[in-house]
Symmetry: C2
Subunit: 353 residues, 2 copies
Amino acid sequence: MPWEPVGNHPNLNERTQHLLKVLVERYIRDGQPVGSRTLARDAGLDLSPATIRNVMADLEDLGYLQSPHTSAGRVPTARGYRLFIDALLNVPPLDHREVEILRRRIDQPVQNSAELARTVSDLLSGVTRLAGIVMVPRRNVVTLRHVEFLPLSENRVLVVLVLNAQEVQNRIIQTRRPYSAVELNQAAQYLNGQFAGKGIQQVRETLLRDLRETRDNLDRLMQTVVEMAEQTFEIDPVGEDYVVAGQTHLMQCADLSDLDTLRQLFEAFNHKSDLLHLFDQCLHADGVQIFIGEEAGSSVLQGCSVVTAPYTVEGQVLGVLGVIGPTRMAYDRVIPVVEVTARLLAAALNDQD
Amino acid sequence: MPWEPVGNHPNLNERTQHLLKVLVERYIRDGQPVGSRTLARDAGLDLSPATIRNVMADLEDLGYLQSPHTSAGRVPTARGYRLFIDALLNVPPLDHREVEILRRRIDQPVQNSAELARTVSDLLSGVTRLAGIVMVPRRNVVTLRHVEFLPLSENRVLVVLVLNAQEVQNRIIQTRRPYSAVELNQAAQYLNGQFAGKGIQQVRETLLRDLRETRDNLDRLMQTVVEMAEQTFEIDPVGEDYVVAGQTHLMQCADLSDLDTLRQLFEAFNHKSDLLHLFDQCLHADGVQIFIGEEAGSSVLQGCSVVTAPYTVEGQVLGVLGVIGPTRMAYDRVIPVVEVTARLLAAALNDQD
DNA sequence: CTTGGCACTCTGAGGCCGAGAGTGCCAACC
DNA sequence: GGTTGGCACTCTCGGCCTCAGAGTGCCAAG
């Protein structure tokens, strides 16, 4: 099992487990509390409702089920979902044709990783009819490919950085004195000649540590180089961020119909820090991970589940993707979709480099 | 008045207009249908409720008011809001201190126009507690500042374009044959030397029309230049787009509490084409424009109003910004905020160039 | 034209009732 | 001892009624 079992569950009767499984499946399908009569019919065990009732009462005592009120059926608790997912759920592999459809949509040519993230996020949300999320983390190793300096006005210079395979970043820096286009060009040429293909961490260290202290002895070119480099490589250039798509799907699922809950959830999407924290945790677990309700650590995720998977290229984790939806979601379908999408995205990134 | 009067309204009694004004103001404040007794108290005219009732009945006949049901008070119709905004509303200028606060938030240094759009959009939504929108349109005149080609793999080249003041664009193009870094560099140098500062339209025409037909006679460098340029300047590089912020505010206003309406609205934000169409219309009206409900041309905007203003630099319209909220919004506050924000954004862009 | 009076209408909250669904418990059964 | 049918009990939900409150429209008088 790719997701780690969290709760520790006392031994449950084979039959009891089966009944829990059927109940959860039924509830995920219908969204209605499941009564003993219904469960008796569905379970295929040839037991009377009365027997079922006894089992259900036990499951309620153990915290796997609860009833909304006396005379409704039962509904799984978070603990119930947990056991279901850890031990009872069987996840069918995705149909070949479906994999193909996913592959085709991911393999379309894109301009940059942000656009790819958006595409994949759209895809996840479209296929699952939930909210899709793709995170692009801060990479540990960022390779400098090319740098360019353009004078904007008196003391402002536009820096264009090409990183990794094809990531383009630009920023504006303030300089201590005006630089001519020629000076800037020479500085860029020097940096490109010297450091293209090197890790940006390494560039920073080599350049700044070695040269800064001897600044006064440097010729004019190298002084330019140092001043530019100081600001260019100052902060880690690839920020950690994510892309959400299909939030509106969440407005359609009956479970989250409470407007206020929904608003808080949407605000969390914009706020980002909570979710980034969650995804950071997933970065180094391999395979699909599932968080049920407040297991995710944030109270705004009440009633929601998060299904995530990291994607890796050459063993290095590049990011996490996943979906957010109501806890009552079709895990048997969502899990393989998330899993396969992560693999396909990894493959696409691999080809691209 | 900056917004254009749309409906043509028959002569209304001075007193009748005053009563409509007070009613709309009251309704905007409370959100409750206004009855004759309330209006009589609020209007300050020393009239009895019975008289007010007669006037209200007239206004209803003329289509300015309606009652939700027999024994509720009256509510303005779209037509009523229209008249209110066109002729009755007085818009107080924004407080100096408030303008200063806005200015300070807009004048913060930013990296590129997309980031600025986001900042301003956030600002609009924060100040008005509605959804803020900033559109960056396709500019008519796009100036090439700098171009750079980097070989990625066999037949793929990364193009980095610096446009206008500081806009950086990048795209990947497929080439017919592999090019070396040196070749690409020469081609870029040629283009920069020849065309930096020129309009991109002009570059395209000059280069492609004049040279393409004589391709066979060109030297190797110029052949490279032509192939690169063909794809680099093929499509209009600055896409029309907008940024929405603070959508969640719309979930809090009682008027739009219908989940389904809200969902459709949010989907419209993602879909973009409807709203882009609307904003295109605003591009060349000067000053604040207001669309009430379906005046905006899209049925998803039922119950919503849109307040927009274009922002210009040196007489050239650069884009449109505005807010979307329930029709029952505090126009006397929203209008000056939108107006001032547009001016401040224009000023900020002007300084930046 | 304005006003007070008055009958009328409609909503919304609260209370009541009955149907339906499901439970818990118990005694009987295998 | 696990399983079962029976049965009383509880709770929700929709329909129905009622009543107070708010606001209207109309009319006749000022």
